[in-house]
Subunit: 202 residues, 2 copies
């Protein structure tokens, strides 16, 4: 007899918070966000699965005036106002030397570290992909923490890397504004790709 573990469905309210009701915020109120709320985001994000548990994602939580001053020159004009207004901007990066953690995070196969040390293309490919899985989880965890996320694509990646990661060890993969929604924070919801164009049954 199998002692099957019974999993539970997320309730309707939870689905709305994390998936169906949440929206990308384009304006932010001046309501502050505490460091504990940001730690809460990380405490959820860090449990999302990655290839061989390698967890290459790293985060810089920029929430001081000095930090914003270092960041804003590297944000595209169209994203500058909301990035200045958001109480926190998270720089999501991945650690180019993520494989160094393998003996700690995947102790059942510590020798994987040597494989990825020797193959830079494999190291970049696997790290970038697993980091992006964590980026997707980070956005949903931000919502689960009761906050609005506003990921932006318009920024100078090299400029942010030079300013925040001068030794070249981490590299920026996404920038996410975080806070409470401000005035008219979002447009009407944009259309989704039709399910019959996106899902195939086999």
């Amino acid at each position: 007899m199998t002692d099957t573990i019974t999993l539970e469905k997320l309730d309707e309210k939870g689905r709305q918070i994390v998936f169906t009701g949440a929206r990308t915020s384009n304006s932010f109120a001046d309501t502050p966000v505490s460091d504990d709320e940001l730690r809460d985001i990380w405490e959820m994000t860090r449990f999302t699965p990655t290839m061989a548990n390698t967890q290459p994602l790293r985060v810089v939580f920029v929430r001081t005036a000095e930090g914003k001053e270092r960041l804003l020159p590297h944000i595209a004009e169209g994203n500058a106002a909301k990035t200045a207004a958001a109480p926190v901007t998270a720089i999501l990066a991945y650690d180019k030397n993520w494989h160094e953690e393998i003996p700690n995070v995947f102790p059942i196969r510590p020798e994987m570290k040597d494989y990825f040390a020797a193959d830079e293309d494999a190291r970049h490919g696997a790290g970038y992909h697993s980091a992006a899985l964590q980026e997707g989880a980070f956005i949903l965890a931000t919502r689960a923490a009761g906050l609005a996320a506003g990921p932006i694509a318009g920024y100078d990646k090299d400029g942010i890397d030079k300013e925040f990661f001068p030794e070249g060890e981490w590299t920026t993969v996404m920038v996410v504004n975080i806070g409470h929604p401000g005035e008219s924070p979002w447009f009407d919801r944009l259309p989704r790709v039709a399910a019959e164009n996106a899902v195939v049954w086999a």
Copy 2:
């Protein structure tokens, strides 16, 4: 006066289902999974944010004996038994011509389609990245649907592409077994990267 929208935190049970309590499953019970449960996963996944709402992710839900027969020859030996046992295996892919949807999904800037039509590197880079954000959300949505997810990295990508996408329009980015946990479905939880090595405050 700003009419600030108040967001809510996900409750403890919801956090456990989606983030902190969920585990990657390495064995599956023979409890069936219905097509409606799979549609439920997609109904949550499709609302996660992507660059300019482009939603490049596509899914093949393989859940028939015929479908499994087509898939299994392309799964690495170490992953074959669990992939055969799982009632469903999802092939996650991205549409290489995702930019064709831009006039539908981002009608405020339909001309972006031409930009990505002309620049193959930008098209691949943006599509691959946004698809990976959706892959991260897909795993969490599977848990929210009350099911266990078992993403696997060991498979022959070119073999799956040839078998399932012979016209070359979609390309495989991840394979995820889906079902209910079987016997001894997971090991003890592996360590997480220490927060002081992953999070920086600025």
